[in-house]
Amino acid sequence: MHKFTLAAVFCAVLLCCAPAFAIDGQVLINQSTVMAAGGFPYKITQPGSYKLSGNLVVPANTNGIVIEANGVTLDLNGFAVSGPLSCTGLGESISCSNDPEPNPTYGIVTTNLDFATVKNGTVSGFSGGLNIEGIAEDIFATSNLDYGISVSDGVMERCAANFNRDTGLAIAASAALQNTANFNGEYGLRAATSSFSSNVFLANGNDSPGAQILLTASVSGNNNSCNGSAC
């Protein structure tokens, strides 16, 4: 009986410690680990620190990584999450193949108002490259259909979005700092109820000044550049 109690306590301690370990360590993600976990979309359901250890190639009609927990930091570690869309041309002339509409796909997306930090890598080939609530840092988005990077209730910093068919960057209730958006099909930036500073927009849409940024609701900006002029 005593041995049984000890074993039960030991098991309980192990069970309690397992999630804590996942939080402290950095979970590595690559194509093999995703496939072994059942394939795409790869769902992150526990808070913690995650890091890519290789590129991810995502098949058609599915998301790449879905973050379903608060308190997730995902470091792309310089690697790319790539979907099947490919776009050619620049500005207004961009056209893309493998359009997944009416079921849009995302390279990385948060759900259920979960807040995450995603940084340091590339997202391409989806309806939306990165669509999160939280912080996006040092993300490069290209060859996406609707937008490259979309951030709500957070911060977008040092990101770049080029050659996306519609919009490069989109923010809502957020701040955009030191980002660039060039050669996107409609707008460099769409912003609502946000602030944006020290960003650069070049040759988006029809190349006119008005095509560089589209501001709605309450938006403030300073020290931004649109086609080489202050905006």
Binding site: F21, G25, Q26, V27, L28, I29, N30, Q31, S32, T33, M35, A36, G38, G39, S53, G54, N55, V57, P59, A80, S82
Partner: protein, 218 residues
């Protein structure tokens, strides 16, 4: 008496061969993947601690990864091959790694190819997903899952095809993949059965002049 024995032998052989034909293609499978090391500890990764033999590996060495498992992998899907054995081997360096527990193999159709993804979790270190695994990703032509010496190719965007992470990610051995082999496991028994029946048939023909069931049929 001799005729009866021969008849029983033929019947038994025929039964075994027939069983082999209708049974599942394999009760035990083996996959061998070969390639060349492109990153070793001499490139600055490591040094390997949990398996010091990996420190002898050099860039350019030929390696093989052998997976033995129960059952068969003959169609797309994800296979949990835990319980099988997975061995990474670099003969030139006398280096090997076989301390894997959970093993997973995925086959995904991709146009005219099958994308193959292999994950083997090491028993050493702080856990599989914390930098203690062997990971492979490559493509082979569709329909060659049960073939020998199939040329393997890179899946666009997925490099390196071989990634052996040890010591919580401190040691990172990488390589390219050149060939995939998974001979049809049931082919050898069937071949032996065929040869056996052939021999029996020849023996039967030689004894046509003898009285007995064979002679009567002839």
């Amino acid at each position: 008496m001799g005729t009866v024995c021969r008849s029983l032998l033929v019947a038994a052989a025929a039964f075994v061969c027939a069983a082999g034909l209708v049974a599942p293609p394999a009760s035990a499978g083996e996959v061998t993947i070969s390639g060349t090391i492109s990153q070793s500890t001499s490139d600055g990764t490591g040094p390997a601690v949990n398996n010091p033999s990996l420190n002898s590996i050099n860039d350019g060495d030929a390696f093989t990864v052998t997976l033995d498992f129960a059952g068969s992998v003959s169609s797309p899907g994800t296979y949990d091959l835990t319980g099988g054995t997975l061995v990474f081997s670099d003969p030139a360096a006398s280096a090997a790694e076989s301390a894997f527990d959970s093993i997973s193999l995925s086959v995904t159709p991709d146009g005219t190819s099958d994308d193959i993804s292999l994950l083997g979790c090491l028993t050493s270190g702080s856990g599989c997903l914390f930098g203690n695994y062997l990971s492979m990703n490559f493509a082979i032509p569709s329909g060659d899952l049960d073939s020998a010496n199939v040329p393997a190719s890179l899946i666009s965007g997925l490099y390196p095809p071989l990634d052996l992470l040890e010591d919580d990610g401190t040691t990172d051995i990488q390589g390219s993949v050149s060939a995939y082999t998974s001979p049809e496991p049931a082919s050898l028994p069937l071949l032996l059965c065929g040869l056996f029946l052939l021999v029996l048939a020849r023996v039967g023909r030689k004894r046509l002049t003898l009285p007995g069931r064979f002679a009567g049929r002839a």
